[in-house]
């Protein structure tokens, strides 16, 4: 062995190993603890009357009959709620110009999307609450709707918030380099295309769920929460319900998937908390699937016009995009609905060295459900636009897909680099990931095979995409804009008397394996077997203050906090051990639960023995030794606004040109998420993410009528990816640890979703090339493909 051992090379290391998730065992035997599993004494159930119209004035609400029904505990309307809850506004100060009106838990005078909650019933069972909802009479006066994004800014469009004068919520322009000059160069070829990304939504299998209890005796509220950011929710409840923050406890046990859906503020969840407070008893609200489709945030809904100029040698001379995106009638609180558009502007073309870049984003209000952050915010749009245009450019100048990428990718030795959109990149590996991708997929062989098959009427295609992913955000993401959203995370590690350690951390678990990597890092850095690590997350009463798990930040930020805390505790324990063993602490180490000689690894004492002495036999220690067997550390990213990751992906598809059906034959991902803490968990994040990307690319779409009715608000009609059509996905890694932390981990949760649609779009267009046509709208349904083929 050469050189000193790094902290990652210690014996019994867990970092870098595929450790099975300890908490999966519970879920496998039906002992999960999801919010809906919670049964409390005196618990009552909420149901909501929702607007059947996209835009209407509420003339009257008559809940008298419902209120008298046996089993009904309370009936509330918008003004009842407004009496107990301050409205919220989904803006952030750093998103300059973003506007959105105050929003209440239940609509006050006007409903602005189909599904908006209008009245609430609390009853002794959900069935009774629904019965009572059926008895509430709401009289509406219809208002003209503005649903279509592309018409929302027209002069004659209905204005959703008259006080604003028009439906524009936010606009941003990026202009970098000299775009006009580049497009005017006489050695460039210009390609352009309009892309459409229709709305889809998260469809977490566990619906949004809240159980809230309020104890008036001590003014405390307990909220069983199925979400990603308990401390954020604590701050929101405090602010809008007027309760002391410290009196609100958020408990997130098991969360049945979130993907961004459950990180936002929904009127019905807040109304549930308000009802619990008024009634001073536990109230449960579990969204049913119809409510989920109507009110869980939707994502995407972009129409983008893109232009790219390429020189003869393939150099991207300039890129210009114009993004128009619809966000529903409000900007979502507290993260805002402008972030997705902002990301599109920031990230389009990000893997490539582009000097001249111009982008305009317009975010508009419309009478549809709210649109906001869902897994891979903005990424699938940004990546598909750049990769799609790049493919057009390659074709136009007769360059291969791979060659044009190699010509333009930012070189691996070029970092740090600041992109035309102002993004700071470091430690990326676009060239190595692309090379590795071509290798694992057998790119050249596949191309040859396809060419042969094409002559026998089999139409296959390959699509490649190079991508970046925003991870590990710093306070510059939200905190700077005034939101109570922590960018730092904390971890506390303590040694217990029996020699086990206990970690409590502010990042949260929604299935990605947060608790497992926490245990791996702590076991590794401190020096115990993983089964001697207990982990607590998701309970504001017991964990340090922090942001939670979103924007692929759990491992990179929370993981580093755990690393720092476990390392600190190790130092503290070695101090005590040194005193007991009468030797210098630096001659000792902790390995597999024992204090050992650092050179020989000979055992000096067990941690159990140390714990026994410290906790029970303090009399054996010198009086001036005051052991502290607990350590807390917090960590935030300081040098960069984000830590980017990168990757390369490829898809292979077969198109049936007669039916428009596309079969997915293969999918490959090479991902660089920095240090891989648990390869199996990372691979599974990628695979799950890719399949969500496949959903957006081929299946998932919230289909609205022209007057704002969601036509497929059921799982029978909204198509999510199911097992039979999904391909096996090959995942490989390049590891370029980030220098921003000791751990070196970046995020991995969103790359699959962010990149897959781009690769799939290119693969389908490769297959369509033989027919001299292409597609630029997602999802790529059979009907849209048949239209592209000119068959229908």
């Amino acid at each position: 062995m050469t050189g000193p051992l790094s902290i990652f090379d210690r014996p019994n290391a867990y970092i870098g190993k595929s450790v099975p998730r300890p908490d999966a065992a519970r879920l496998l035997v039906g002992r999960g603890q999801f919010v809906d599993d919670q049964q409390l004494p005196r618990m009552v159930h909420a149901a909501f009357v929702r607007s059947p119209h996209a835009h209407a004035r509420i003339v009257s609400i008559d809940g008298a009959q419902a209120a008298t029904m046996q089993g009904v505990v309370a009936v509330y309307d918008g003004s009842d709620m407004a009496d107990h809850c301050e409205p919220w506004v989904g803006t952030l100060t750093h998103m300059q110009g973003l506007r959105s009106p105050p929003q209440y838990p239940l609509a006050l005078d006007v409903v602005r999307w189909q599904g908006e909650p209008v009245a609430m019933v609390v009853a002794t069972s959900r069935a009774l609450a629904e019965d009572a909802c059926g008895l509430i009479d709401v009289d509406y006066e219809l208002l003209p709707e503005a649903c279509n994004v592309e018409a929302a800014l027209d002069r004659d469009a209905a204005v959703i918030h008259p006080e604003f004068g028009n439906n524009l919520a936010w606009e941003r322009i990026v202009d970098s380099g000299d775009v006009d000059a580049a497009f005017a160069r006489n050695d460039v070829t210009i390609v352009e295309r309009t892309f459409r990304f229709n709305r889809h939504t998260g469809v977490t299998l566990e619906p949004r769920s809240s159980v809230v209890d309020f104890n008036p005796a001590d003014e405390t509220m307990t909220y069983w929460y199925a979400g990603q950011a308990p401390h954020m929710m604590q701050a929101i409840l405090s602010k809008h319900l007027g309760l002391a923050e410290e009196n609100i406890r958020l408990i997130a046990n098991d969360v049945g998937g979130s993907f961004g859906i459950k990180i936002h503020t929904y009127g019905d969840d807040i109304a549930t908390a308000v009802a619990a407070r008024i009634l001073a008893r536990p109230v449960k609200f579990i969204a049913d699937r119809n409510e989920s489709f109507l009110t869980d945030i939707h994502a995407r809904d972009h129409r983008i016009h893109g232009r790219m100029a390429v020189a003869r040698d393939g150099e991207i001379a300039a890129l210009e995009i114009d993004d128009l995106t619809g966000i529903g009638p409000y900007s979502m609180y507290p993260r805002t609905s402008a972030i997705e558009c902002n990301q599109v502007l920031n990230l389009t073309g990000a893997p490539y060295a582009i000097q001249n870049y111009r982008a305009r984003g317009q975010v508009v209000f419309q009478n549809k459900n709210l649109m906001s952050q869902y897994r891979a915010v903005g990424h699938p749009v940004a990546m598909a636009v750049a990769e799609g245009l790049l493919e057009d450019a390659a074709l136009a100048i007769g360059l291969g897909s791979v060659d044009i990428r190699k010509r333009n990718l930012i070189r691996d030795d070029a970092y740090p680099v600041t992109s035309a959109a102002g993004m700071k990149f470091d430690d990326l590996s676009h060239c190595r990931t692309l090379d590795k991708l071509l290798d694992i997929m057998g790119h050249d062989v596949l191309r040859e095979e396809h060419a042969k098959l094409r002559s026998s009427g089999i139409h296959r295609g390959i699509g490649i995409a190079s991508i970046v992913e925003v991870t590990n955000p710093s306070p510059l993401f939200y905190g700077v804009g005034g939101a109570s959203i922590a960018a730092q995370d904390g971890a506390t590690v303590r040694l217990d008397a029996a020699g086990a350690i206990h970690v409590s951390a502010s990042i949260t678990e929604q299935g990605q394996g947060t608790n497992t990597i926490i245990a791996q890092i702590a076991a590794d850095m401190f020096g115990v077997e993983i089964d001697r690590v207990k982990v607590t997350t998701g309970d504001t009463a017991h964990v340090p203050y922090g942001g939670g798990t979103w924007a692929s930040r759990g491992a990179g930020i929370g993981g580093e906090a755990v690393l720092q805390a476990a390392t600190a505790l190790r130092g503290q324990v070695l101090e005590v051990a040194g005193t007991i063993l009468q030797c210098a602490p630096d001659r000792l180490d902790i390995l597999s639960g024992s204090i050992v000689d650092v050179k020989t690894a000979a055992q000096r004492m067990t941690l159990r023995e140390l714990g026994r002495i410290v906790y029970f036999r303090g009399n054996e220690l010198p009086p001036d030794v005051k052991p502290e067997l607990i350590a807390t550390r917090h960590y935030r990213v300081t040098d960069f606004p984000f830590v980017f990751t990168n990757g390369a992906m490829a898809a292979e598809v077969e198109l049936d040109p007669e039916t428009g059906f596309v079969k997915l034959l293969g999918f490959w991902v090479v991902e660089d998420c920095g240090r891989v803490i648990n390869p199996q968990l990372v691979d599974e994040q990628i695979r799950g993410g890719v399949v969500q990307g496949i959903g957006g690319a081929f299946y998932e779409e919230c289909i609205y009528s022209s007057n704002g009715q969601l036509l497929n608000a059921s799982m029978a009609d909204y198509l999510v990816p199911m097992a039979a059509e999904m391909p096996d996905i090959v995942v490989a890694h390049v590891e370029t640890p980030t220098k921003t932390s000791v751990l070196g981990a970046k995020g991995a949760g969103e790359a699959g979703t962010g990149g897959a649609p781009a690769a799939l779009l290119n693969a389908v267009n490769d297959a369509l090339r033989a027919f001299d046509t292409s597609i630029s709208e997602m999802p790529m349904t059979p009907e849209r493909l048949l239209k592209a083929l000119g068959v229908v």
């Binding site: 629904e130 059926g134 699937r289 059509e725």
Partner: protein, 283 residues
Amino acid sequence: MKAAEFDYAKPRTVDEALAILASHEGEVRPIAGGQSLMPMMNFRLAQPDMLMDLNALEELQGIRDEGGFIIIGAMTRYRELECSELIAAHIPLICAALPHIAHAAIRNRGTIGGSIALADPAAEMPALMLALEATITVVSSRGVRRILADEFFLGLYETALADDEIITEIHVPRSKAPAHFAFCELARRHGDYAIVGIAITAQEIMPMRGLRVALFSVSDRPVRAVAIEQALENTSVGDAGAMKLAVQAIGSMAFQDDLNATDKTKLHLVGVLLKRALTELCT
């Protein structure tokens, strides 16, 4: 989403069931497998006053071979059809269609009678009944009726079944369930209702004689495409002229849009499926 209130009855005999239907005021809804009715009730799209459970009616169960017919009890579950040797031997068309109907857990409970009574225009079984020249036996306290599949499906979820009637069994003529058959459908995902589907039977294939062509998910009901049958009768697969006539026949049919496809797309896809089904029929 919880079902609205209803009363519940579980008759032990058909007579008991018919008495309930004849006497009960308000809407009595039979429930068979519940795989269509329960979702509708959970969404409160169906709110019957009384649910009459058919699951204890032994008279509605079983598959038998009798008098030139395979007789299938209305309460026969898809799973029983999958496992039945009689079906495999005499009505292989059903076996070909079954894997396309929903998923195993739904096939464990869903019944053939329920599917026929529901008459979902996108469902496989009703179209199969047309292709197989089946007869549907319905009873009420007023008596027994035998209705040809051709006369059973009247519109969107609308059948010849009266409010006080239930389906008891289905007769499939053995002679009309020949070895010559084809089944094709296009569904977005495995087990989904099809965008379009086709079931064909023929007495002979060289040339084609006694063709019955049934389409589903094209209109408000399963459709027997008589014009296609006529265009192809007495011709051979690969006969371009006949195929042209058949495609013209398709063009003269009225298709209906749904969320997956416009009528135009459906028309096109039926043409594609017809071609594929005919190839399958003759190989």
